[in-house]
């Protein structure tokens, strides 16, 4: 049975696409046949982050409309054999997405033998975002440690609990995970930023991980490489931890404690 996971947040710019790219890569590296679908019709960027923008021939809307089949649209990732990307359309708009169409795509992916199907949701609570979460079995709710992001994540959780198929059909509810991104332990220490514990207390869903704020993320997207590939980066390590926890392995939380740099580092330019 394929597991459908939606990466959503409500708020824009918090790290959904970065997370979708890294987690789908992480699962594929573990040997699972993984597909990642961009639901941001008209504003696609998953293909850029994954570095396959020049190989896009057909997209999700083409498949939904029957203009192409899945095999023609799926793009094999250049880093990872088990990973396939289904990009969004750039020229159409989200009205082209239909529930029956999306359901069929997901069923077809399951028949192709995929273990995990990640749905990269657009920001907002409108059609694209609702389509991305409708068929989800699990949800990773991405939130920055910041009040408006938390409020929007709360809103999307409410929508997940009322508009997902699992909710409407009264089945076991969508399994929710909280991922706090762009975390800066120093700013938390200084009282400028919410701590991950505050965020968790407000949203009351289990925490799957904390991704530290890092310049590496920008570098990775410029290179067209998911951040999880960057060796020796805190972000990559944090995403690897998230994938491990997702697969029910225990990992202690890293990158959440602020360590004051030693005197020398402070004198010579430490942060």
């Amino acid at each position: 049975m394929a597991r459908v996971i939606v990466i959503t947040s409500g708020k824009g710019g918090v790290g959904k696409t970065t997370t979708s790219a890294s987690i789908s890569t992480g699962l594929a590296l573990r040997g699972f046949k993984t597909a990642v679908i961009d639901f941001d019709v008209g504003l696609r960027n998953l293909d850029l982050i994954m570095g396959c923008e020049r190989r896009v021939v057909y997209d999700l809307i083409n498949v939904v409309n029957g203009e192409a089949n899945l095999n023609q649209a799926l793009i094999k990732d250049k880093h990872c054999d088990n990973l396939f990307i289904l990009p969004a359309s750039q020229t159409r708009d989200k009205d082209a997405l239909t529930e029956e169409g999306v359901e069929k795509v997901l069923k077809d992916l399951e028949h192709l033998g995929f273990d995990y199907i990640l749905c990269d949701s657009p920001a907002g609570i409108e059609r694209g975002a609702v389509m991305a979460l409708t068929f989800a079995d699990e949800a990773i709710v991405v939130s920055n440690p910041e009040v408006s992001s938390v409020r929007d994540s709360d809103r999307i959780l409410g929508i997940l609990q009322s508009k997902s198929r699992r909710a409407i059909e009264g089945r076991e509810p969508v399994k929710e995970h909280l991922l706090v991104t762009r975390y800066s332990p120093k700013r938390v220490e200084d009282g400028e930023m919410l701590s991950y514990k505050d965020v968790q207390e407000l949203l009351r869903i289990p925490l799957i991980g904390v991704i530290p704020e890092s310049d590496d993320v920008l570098q990775a997207s410029n290179q067209g490489t998911p951040a999880i590939h960057l060796k020796d980066s805190d972000v990559a390590t944090a995403y690897l931890d998230v994938v491990a926890r997702f697969l029910d392995e225990d990992r202690p939380l890293r990158f959440v404690a602020y360590e004051k740099p030693g005197l020398l580092k402070r004198l010579f330019g430490g942060k």
Binding site: R151, D154, R155, L157, G158, I159, Q161, S162, K163, A167, L202, R204
Partner: protein, 273 residues
Amino acid sequence: MADASLQGKLIEFKGASLAVMTAYVRETDAVRLADALHMMLGGMPDFFAGEPAILDFSQLGNSPDRVDWTAVLSLLRRYQLQPVGVRNLDEHLQEGARRAGLAVLRAESFSAERPVAAAQPRTPPPAPAPAPAPTLSPTPVEAAPQAPAAAPSDNGLAPTLVVDRPLRSGQQVYAKGGDLVLLAGMSPGSEIIADGSIHCYGPLRGRALAGARGDTSARIFSTNFGPELVSIAGVYRTFERGIPQTVAGRGAQVRLTGSDNLHTLEITPLQYD
């Protein structure tokens, strides 16, 4: 080709009884009515969810020469209330009501009025969870808020509505005719409404409106007090200057004190250890 025996049966008339709400209208000026409704219902569209109502004019403060029925009816319909008839209306106004499509009802048409739960003082249940009642997940805010469909018991009380999952921002729950219990608190930006009292186990962080149909004895209880707005029978309070220290984040109750025209909200901490 319709069967000959069915010819007369294309529409059939039978007696039926309908439990319906009465709205005691004390002001016929649409502008002032609009203000009053807005204050009571916090600007919630669809509040009544299409429910029919009788407009009773026995408590009218003045004796107008005419009523702008179009304005009044469209105002009520904006809150999704469906006025179907009038009673105790002065004779010179009845023709206007009829032309506006309302039935002019005679007092004899009404059976003895059941005291609605709202009219009776109701003692709040003790702090441990009240007797098991239908549990409902919060309904999506897009749909009209629903209450359990169970018939009210003989004393006119509806079963308590129990919500067992955290209420999220943007969600709204309405406990019609009874009390509301939240077992997992509510987030900022969510809204709970009850005709009776509200009992919140967990953080109370959104808007809480008790006694929504005018029950001044309704109360709001919470184990962790921190709302954006509380209201009892339309008397409301926001917390721009923050929640008072004595109750912030602690067990607290909100009740209405004072008499008819001088109600105030009193918020006191709860000691229950």
